[in-house]
Amino acid sequence: MRLFKPMLASIITLAFYSQVGAAEELPITGSVASKCTIHTDRAGVYGNPTASVLSTDSVDGGTPAIVRFDVVNASTYKAVITTPNSFTSSPALNDTLAWTGSTEVSAVTDSNMSAYDSNKRVFDNVTEIDLTVAGTVWFKANSRVEYGYNKSLPGGTYKAIVTAECIAL
């Protein structure tokens, strides 16, 4: 009986420490797989510098769209950014619209990505860039449209879409 109490205390202590030991062995696993993630950091806003022009350029009072691409592995994807060549919704327009657009690198996480601007392929309103460096790159897309010959754009809301694509190579 005299030995019973110390034995009980030892058993409880052992049981406690054995449980603590088991908790320490919980494994955490993870894996990194090739992928591309497109972040729409900022939708653009058109400024209206003159009656006939809408432009996302900051000097025209607009805000360019910012799109971020994250790629885990180098040379597995290309980015394709298409600036608008029509409105998805607008007031009734009865004259021609002259669209221009441009896409350029805005920020990078690796200095080697600075070559993206010189290596990009541009055709019509489309810009293609091979994402040859793993990491994150931000692209700035500008859009500008001029209505008729110095014709005033009718009042209302205008909507246009920038398309950002990540295509596996």
Binding site: K35, T40, A43
Partner: protein, 124 residues
């Protein structure tokens, strides 16, 4: 007060919306039907402004290839990960090169300029 303002600005500026589609290089395998092959794709939506994504399958010249899936347009809620199978006839499998998901912008979206996103995986 100033600290709260700075914290709010950091939170707002750090908030981004993203579209993620994996794997990069899917592989077709046999399905329960003898003449049909399948591959499993995963879509992760962190775009608060998007609830629907369209699935499409193309050949090397970007011509559509017939396929089946649980739906052509998937509803994927904000922060939801959706796994789905793409089924293609065995005879069409050699033609398949790209499996894509495209964000669908809803008419009632009030933003003046919008960004549509599309990610395409490649079948090698």
């Amino acid at each position: 007060m100033i600290r709260c303002l700075i914290a709010s600005l950091v939170l707002v500026s750090g908030h981004v919306f993203a579209h993620q589609f994996t794997p990069t290089y899917p592989k077709f395998e046999s399905s329960m039907a003898e003449t049909i092959s399948q591959t499993t794709m995963t879509l992760f939506n962190t775009r608060k402004d998007i609830r629907f994504y369209e699935i499409s399958v193309f050949d090397g010249e970007w011509k559509p290839v017939e396929f089946a899936a649980e739906a052509r347009v998937l509803q994927v809620r904000f922060l939801e990960t959706k796994q789905f199978n793409v089924y293609v006839r065995n005879r069409d499998v050699p033609r398949v090169m790209y499996i894509c998901t495209t964000s669908k912008i809803e008419v009632q979206n009030q933003t003046a300029a919008l960004i549509a996103t599309r990610i395409c995986s490649k079948v090698k």
